[in-house]
């Protein structure tokens, strides 16, 4: 079983905001820059990997009950976005890895995308 803290470790990610990282399980991962594609995908205890860095990324994660949001290629959300994530209890990381590499690392660690 993987937890949110393991996502940070596997992706060598910088933790911009973390909440319940030791106890929140991760079951699946979705990687996309298109939020409508993300919204078509519903799984419990999901991580979202994205290169899209705007407030709608946080909103989408909120609607989807995403437990952890990871910005790839060192994308840096602003304070407003991090504050929004805090209010919604969503952990936010940033990693220097690309989308492809990030997906590969998490897939190799045993996580799947789901249907």
């Amino acid at each position: 079983m993987l937890y949110v803290k393991d996502i940070a470790r596997l992706l060598d990610a910088k933790i911009l905001y973390g909440t319940n990282m030791d106890t929140t399980e991760v079951h699946s991962v979705c990687g996309s820059d298109m939020m409508s594609d993300v919204l078509a995908y519903v799984k419990n205890q999901s991580v979202l990997l994205t290169g899209l860095c705007n407030p709608q990324t946080i909103r989408t994660a909120e609607m989807m009950d995403i437990v952890c949001l990871v910005f790839v290629r060192n994308k840096q959300p602003d304070e407003t976005m991090i504050e929004l994530a805090k209010q919604r209890g969503i952990s936010v990381f940033t990693t220097y890895h690309t989308m492809f590499t990030s997906c590969g690392i998490l897939y190799t660690a045993g996580l799947k995308g789901g249907a």
């Binding site: 409508s36 709608q56 990324t57």
Partner: protein, 146 residues
């Protein structure tokens, strides 16, 4: 006694960064009144897609939400340009959104298909040059929110 909760929201059409505030508020309300998490998520996603559509295509509008013991009904009303071809608009991947919207993560042509997918009923009334009203209903299982 009428035990329906009515919520009304105004969606601003000129600020994309604020799009989703109504859906976020509704999600909080549903949590507070103890709606099941899967229903809350379906309602939130459908409303959020609709809210984004209103901002992208119609310069905003109004949303009325009616929560009864049987269902959650969302009525999204705008005075935008109307939808010329509803069948096309319902096709996954078909979009009339401008290119700059795609750089913001939307305009993939999944909005209306997603809204239909997550709701039990969706009706669209539209008139060119007048506006569009989308009514979505998500049914609640018996004995919830009593």
């Amino acid at each position: 006694m009428d035990d329906t909760i009515k919520l009304e929201y105004t969606v601003s059409g000129d600020d994309f960064t604020r799009a989703g505030e109504a859906s976020s508020n509704l999600k909080n309300v549903l949590r507070q009144i103890g709606a099941p998490p899967d229903i809350t998520r379906r309602v939130s996603i459908a409303m959020y897609e609709g809210e984004i559509n209103m901002v992208i295509h119609a310069n905003g509008g109004t949303i009325t939400v009616l929560i009864s013991p049987e269902s959650i009904k969302m009525i999204l009303k705008d005075q935008g340009p109307g939808i010329p071809d509803i069948d096309k608009a319902m096709q996954a991947g078909y979009s009339t959104a401008p290119d700059d919207i795609r750089t913001l993560g939307f305009g993939a042509g999944m909005g209306l298909p997603n809204m239909k997918k997550y709701t039990d009923d969706m009706q669209i009334e539209t008139e060119l040059g007048v506006g569009t009203t989308v009514t979505m209903v998500v049914n609640l299982p018996a004995a919830v929110l009593q």
